[in-house]
Amino acid sequence: MIDTGQILVNSLVTSSLYLLAGTGLTLTYGLSRFPNFAYAEFITIGAYCGLFFLAKPGGFFLLALVLGFLIAALVGASSYSLVFRPLVERKTSLIHLMVASIALGYVLRHSIGEGWGWATKSYQLMWPVYNIGHVRITLLWIILIATAVLAAVVLHFFLTRTRTGKAIRAIASNPDLASVTGINKQRVILLTWSFGAGLAAMAGVFRAADTRLSPMLGWDILLPIFAITMLGGIGSFYGLIVAALILGLAENFGVVLLSGIGLSTEYRMAIAFLILIGVLVIRPKGLAR
């Protein structure tokens, strides 16, 4: 027996969280060309910023999203200027940048743990539930799905249709040539990092509203987010949407399969990653290319 409608909705919720966090990652990854593992902490910071408005009942969810976005944007921009920019300017290798990002992640994560405590916390929110036929959906899930799709589509048009968007793509494909054409490289990079971290923070607020807060919040979901970014093809938003859908569907229908044969649903990630590996074998550069 399987309730396909509900499982589809569940998959969409799982996918949308990955998608929202993935948009920010693919944006910065596409530009700076190294995996920033401290991205997990941008997610966590957003979630904790939300506490300012949502620790007590009756808070405004939208304000939490905005504050999370702004603070994380600041953290993202400072992370780039203080940690990564000096390294990039000395032409350090990918490995060095990666290790630096892991270190930065540790510093941020443990600072969050010291500041807010390691015990879990929760937003005080109750979401209305709607019945569509026998399928149940909450207002939070609807907002999450809409926000994630909107973010990906808007960013796609931003990158292809606007001046700044084109500047980002120019820097991504050839930084030196871009500078020569009069693009203010540093400003564009800072803007991108702020925006990417802001999107991560919004995903964090959603994750916290759906589950609870802990300093490990971002780290716990970083792997699938990196996975969809790779699968979608770094820098591609339509690819990202498809990749997030694949992972979400694989995980949730994986649960049906696993619980049917009596295995632990912990393997849902394994199923999702098997599919991921399969796709990458056929299309090594991701779905978009």
Partner: protein, 395 residues
């Protein structure tokens, strides 16, 4: 100049790392080394079991304080070493090793979860360090070769699973799903309950194991809903429980009767209104309980409230008893040799009157029999609280 600054920063970082590395808290009087008895506490103060472990550690501190006020052990004061295992069996072993190798601790309460107990047991036995677990309940720990230095002040879930099943049968439930976290504690308790349910004539329509760290349980819960059970037996902890109940409420699963256990007892579950509402709507559970009208329990609760201003929660009494039992055994043995204290513990641990009731160890270091509380959640004056429904004694 620049190199100098870098060198200074590196030196500072190294220093900071050293300070962090020695981050274990040490409390107690700063008396000379040979005059104290070192006692360790390695429980989960963060991670999934964090909310529970913080309160239990408070109970340990209270017990040590009382022992010291009463003259200590063999005339020596007890020095307490507290470590956090972050609800991670591997981290638990690291913390235990640190206490034993670096601090020279030979007695401790540890193995808060059954997984952690499994991880530290062989090491403790090999190093002849006497340990008591207040809360590792898995039946699979019984008869392990390393149990010679490892006691449990809580009964094995061999008993609790049966109580859970009986509760379901008494409620007239016929179709049940078992939903349990995938770890030693969850699976073994779930299996005991399942077997007892089948034996009692009920139908078990599903047995779903989940990852307590995933926190996205919508599809598991949807599957349970499609199986259309009239009851759900759930084994989890406070941390994942909040999310499970939130999502179960969203999916309308509060129409079934849920049967919970000790892991999902605790005010950590009232962190969100959704979780608390779900519990009030649908949950009835079991947990090792203290007998009513037992003066040791009342004294303990009063002392805990006086010191911390809040009520003790699940396993606070068993961890308090573990520390007190150790002190009584060491005093009885008149020595601090772990093997001698162990032998004395077997002697003292016969009809010992503790806060958690009468404690009697069998030869394997397990607590015999069990006293279980049946609880539910009620809403009174807008406040959610746990409510005792009944007490059940198993021999």
């Amino acid at each position: 100049m620049r190199k100098k600054i870098i060198a200074i920063i590196m030196a500072l970082a190294l220093l900071a790392a050293l300070v962090v590395g020695c981050g274990g808290q040490e409390t107690g009087p700063g008396v000379a080394e040979e005059e104290v008895v070192k006692f360790g506490s390695v429980l989960s103060m963060s991670g999934l079991l964090g909310p529970m472990g913080i309160k239990m550690t408070d109970a340990v501190k209270l017990a040590v304080e009382e022992i010291n006020a009463a003259g200590g052990i063999n005339g020596k004061q007890v020095q307490l070493f507290i470590e956090d295992d972050a609800t991670d069996p591997a981290q638990c072993l690291n913390a235990v090793k640190k206490l034993v190798e670096v601090n020279g601790v030979q007695f401790m309460v540890t193995g808060m979860s059954s997984g952690a107990a499994n991880s530290v047991g062989p090491y403790l036995s090999e190093r002849q360090v006497l340990a008591l677990s207040p809360s590792a309940t898995s039946p699979t720990l019984t008869g392990e070769s390393w149990r010679d230095f490892f006691f449990r002040t809580t009964p094995s879930d061999e008993y609790q699973g049966v109580v859970m099943a009986q509760l379901a049968l008494d409620k007239g439930l016929e179709r049940l799903a078992v939903f349990t976290m995938d770890n030693v504690y969850g699976v073994s308790l779930g299996e005991v309950a399942r077997d007892a349910l089948v034996e009692g004539g009920a139908e078990v329509v599903g047995f779903i194991k989940y990852d307590p760290a995933k926190l996205d349980y919508r599809s598991e819960l949807t599957q349970i809903k499609s199986l259309n059970p009239d009851g759900v037996v759930h084994v989890g902890y406070n941390d994942d429980g909040v999310v499970v109940y939130q999502q179960a409420l969203e999916l309308g699963l509060d129409s079934a009767q849920w049967i919970g256990c000790d892991g999902v007892y605790g005010t950590g579950l009232f962190k969100t209104e959704a979780s608390a509402t779900f519990l009030a709507n649908a949950m009835i559970g079991t947990r090792p309980g203290a007998p009513e009208g037992v003066s040791e329990y009342d004294t303990f609760v009063a002392a805990f409230q006086a010191k911390y201003g809040s009520d003790p929660e699940v396993f606070c009494d068993t961890v308090y008893d573990a520390v007190k039992l150790f002190a009584a055994a060491a005093n009885h043995a008149g020595s601090e040799d772990p093997a001698a204290v162990r032998d004395a513990l077997r002697e003292i641990g016969q009809n010992y009157q503790g806060a958690s009731g009468t404690i009697t160890f069998d030869e394997g270091g397990d607590r015999i029999g069990g006293l279980y509380e049946i609880w539910n959640v009620i809403k009174e004056d807008g406040e959610f609280k746990f409510n005792r429904v009944d007490m059940i004694t198993l021999e």
